[in-house]
Subunit: 347 residues, 4 copies
């Protein structure tokens, strides 16, 4: 049994981690922490766990938790994880960081977009970006995994198969993404007060969302050249789900069927990526409650543009599920272990 | 492995059965039928199953399916199941009927409320009302299970522990229930067109809903006397969930804590019923995606009334989940097998 | 032109008052206040007003505002209005209090349910409960109007026509009410965070909601005897609307058609009450955006119970609209002035 | 008083026309028709009109209705209006066609995208595209107005001010639009069944939506050159509202403030267009229930792209409201008459 601790278990990502860990056949939960809920029972905060997971939140004693855990998940705001971990800790336990602190390899870009110094720059080179479909073989060599962002997972997976192909103009990418409101977390805010976001849609953090450089860095790495793109997130009145509508111009004509083959081939060893048939496109409802990423493509011949659309459950493939997938990989399990849930519909 | 067939697998209840059966560790699906989808692939109708369950719908050949199945689930409109099954068929296979045809033991009441003759009255006496928490020991003796309705499951479980207690006036019961819109099924109807039911709530089938006599028959049986009650269903703008707010007048004073003890005791062997602590009340979100029924109680001393509130996921404990629970019981499995999902939140 | 000021104009009720006042043909807005928004432009807080109402919030200088206003609307938490007004102020201006401070005539009941002393008990006797359909003739004589609560308006209107009739058992009343989430106001709270209340329904403040004594006091007054009833509010995942499902036992048989006549007759001079035809019941969508209260009735002969169902827009007939209606009455205008909006659908 | 008839008054656009016409101070409704509802009372179909508009649907006798009407609104499927009207009819009455038949001036494009012959090609030249902000002066000269589509109105208004400017690459336009579900109308369809579209978002008619050539034709006309663009509509789980996120590459650097000036200037005589301040962007909630089109802009210097975002209420500025605005213009009224509703929030 893998012994797992969760630091920051009272937010939505932490809570989803608990659900997946608790249902995982090879995991035992060692500790849950939350600064504001110490000594409270987990199922008093989240009544869905009543009679299922009744442990108390404990103090965030990293050393102690590292002693008793094979892996620690950090579900914390950016700037906190990088203060919390160090090489000593990583000798005792693996760390899967659900936050942003180790996602960007370029520390300058991190400090520019997050507007804060990085507190453990020496660890950046010792961490891996845990987008499982792209880095499966490398991930298993690392003790510190930077679990990707939700928008980024969906956007990168939707574009990766063509990004290094000469027919596509990598400088033309626009990603117009739509997220459910769990993406904004559980902290109270006027923007996520029910009656302020229900029955309305808006774009936000236009041309300034922090997932932009993360998508760019990974796609640049895949393409072998520097890519700049435009990313626009939208807040959509629903609980879960991300839909990323990605546009990339084509400089040569390629048949849609040929591009679909490229996608099928690229993801042939990726059990969680499903490429839609011709004329079928993802809807967030078809992946809700699962670790799948569905991708559909369409070539618009009138404008020579590939439209690649991806859909994920932001709390699963976009966060906790991918965290579990990373854990499975680093511990040598089948990456699907504990992630077999069929999408639940209508939910 | 239990071999299971699903007749009427294209509706929401059928679909939820497929999800739970497919994830069940002791089940193999033998056949799925749907009159209007013969030869279509399951995952072309329900894309959540893409790459997971790709079988084709087949003709509804009951004899053949009975030959290859240990159990058949019927997810059909009322009046259809009673035509479809007979004693011959029940010798070959168990049948769990998700519909209404065998729920009422009084054929006169059935014919009055459903406004149709009953097509196999001889089987009524050979069937059992499959409300697992009340009939666990009897269920295992039967080959034909009448799986309870969604509203009825929630209402009966909320009232059962006190219904035969002298302090409660069984003639005073009012059940005011609220259901999500999956309860209305997948057939197109103006009442369930998105823009007709979104952002609105209404009562419907007031004083005339067919779950009324079903609740009455079961509560009467528990109380040992005839009970008439008032049941009002409401359509609530959400996908899943039933909340039943039940009112029963008290003729003697009993402390709320004492009543809570009665509930705890009544359900001490029922792993899917959770009795809330004092001051905590069910919300449908806390049971969504699970087979739980949460119950909270409150005594209003000002009016001497017990308010018992139950919450279920109408497609799980109110339909498919309870069907699986019945299957587990009749095949001698632990009743929780395949039903261990933690409620998914926020979903 | 009536000169009107709004104290507490930054909440949802205040905002709806501004909308209705601004569109009212006989009103000019003199001042808007909000403690936390002084000097901010109204349309920076509420962008719907961009280019329409751009005034700044000012300090809450009651004397000054009274000088320049014919009427002042108070949209404040309970316990605040009673500190703010006095007889001097009421000599200068009319006051329509949207809050609870002057709704209950029995000060003991007020202090018990609101758990606070009353700060201007001498004014209670000089105020009138502004449920327009019941008190039209008296309202015009008063300078201080206690605008009724949202649940109370809907509940009282649904039961008033039969409450003093001998055939009905006034001791048996249960009101099971469902409200949209604007009813909880604009203050941030975990219970109204989008992802905590979306796709779920719950009862709250069970047997303890403060609108209970308000309904009781008014119905008692109509019935000419003391009435105690049970009131259960539910939080429903939608922005606006209240549906009150009211149950009252009948001790004699009366035909539904005869009861409907009683309702039609009772409200024959009430342009905002619409009595539904036989077999038709209110839905909150049909009154949204309007000052209507729709009422449908059904007699359940099986249990000798009258089910009376009322629907209102909680922010209009349940708050701001009724406030305007009260203003129209005290200034001698047609009560419909500025309240002619047809319900907006689908909205 | 303008006498107005509505052909096809039972759909959502027809119903919204009735609401606005009924509230219009200068209009009297002469006739309402609906093939499937003849002789039914309007308020039996739409209960919001109870006691307000109780006329019966009548036969669709165009000649008779033309005799008694100054203007006829057609709210019909494409291909129907073009059969229904002719020059004779246009001599008797003005016609405002809410459908697609006269929007495209290039008949070949119409027949290609709508896959049907045009039934009155001789009238195309005698009609005007009724996007009021662009064609106010011409509209008043015409008897046949092609009321623009919902997506098109929002998209064109968002891009018009810069489309002919040399700094912008008109060949680079991508419009990623999100619509509420009233946009799909009232006809029953699996895609708009509540539980199929609630809590999910999807793109549809990708690179093939019929509003594409309509946007192109109008923008081409403004730009003075042929424009091809990519348009992707998305179905969003909410009743009303369209948000169009428009991308256009810049070939020269222009300050955002300068572009904002261009927008302010372009719409200086357009009372229904509101240009947001720097850093503020439209949300559909702020225009709901009104005829406004809110537009916000942002220059992304990293990719030299202008992001222009427009928001409208699809049933008002995107349909019925613009129809009324057109009517006001052709009858010489202030274009705001009857369209003064402040956006209703939270609704």
């Amino acid at each position: 049994m893998i012994k797992a601790g969760v630091i920051g278990a009272s937010g939505y990502v932490g809570q989803e981690l608990i659900r997946l860990l608790k249902q995982h056949p090879e995991v035992e939960i060692t500790a849950v922490t939350s600064k504001s809920n110490v000594n409270q029972h987990y199922d008093d905060i989240y009544c869905n766990y009543k009679g299922i997971f009744t442990n108390s939140f404990e103090e965030q004693d990293m050393d102690r938790i590292a002693e008793i855990s094979d892996v620690i998940f950090l579900a914390l705001p950016h700037g906190v994880a990088s203060k919390l971990i160090n090489e000593e800790l990583l000798k005792k336990t693996k760390v899967i960081d659900m936050g942003a602190d180790f996602r960007l390899k370029d520390i300058g870009i991190y400090e520019e977009w997050y507007n804060t110094p990085h507190y453990s720059p020496e660890l950046i080179g010792k961490s891996i970006y845990g987008l499982c479909e792209l880095k499966k073989d490398e991930i298993k060599k690392y003790s510190l995994i930077a679990n990707p962002g939700c928008y980024t997972t969906c956007s990168i997976l939707s574009l990766a198969p063509v990004i290094d192909h000469e027919a596509f103009d990598a400088s033309s990418i626009i990603v117009d993404a739509k997220s459910g409101i769990t993406g904004a977390g559980r902290s109270l805010d006027m923007g996520t007060h029910y009656t302020e976001c229900n029955e309305s849609i808006k774009a936000y953090k236009i041309a300034s969302h922090r997932h932009t450089p993360e998508i760019e860095e990974q796609l640049s790495s895949l393409a072998g050249k520097e890519i700049r793109l435009l990313f626009t997130p939208h807040l959509t009145p629903m609980n879960r789900g991300i839909l990323a509508t990605c546009y990339i111009r084509m400089e040569k004509e390629i048949a849609e069927s040929e591009i679909r083959e490229m996608y099928m081939d690229f993801y042939k060893d990726s059990p969680f990526v499903r490429i839609m048939k011709e004329g079928v496109f993802p809807e967030t409802k078809w992946v809700k409650g699962s670790n799948y990423c569905d991708i559909g493509i369409k070539v618009d011949k009138r404008t020579n543009t590939l439209i690649a659309i991806g859909a994920i459950d932001n709390l699963i493939k976009g966060a906790a599920g991918q965290g579990i997938q990373n854990m499975n990989i680093i511990f040598g399990l089948d990456e699907k272990t504990g992630l077999g849930d069929i999408p639940i519909f209508p939910a």
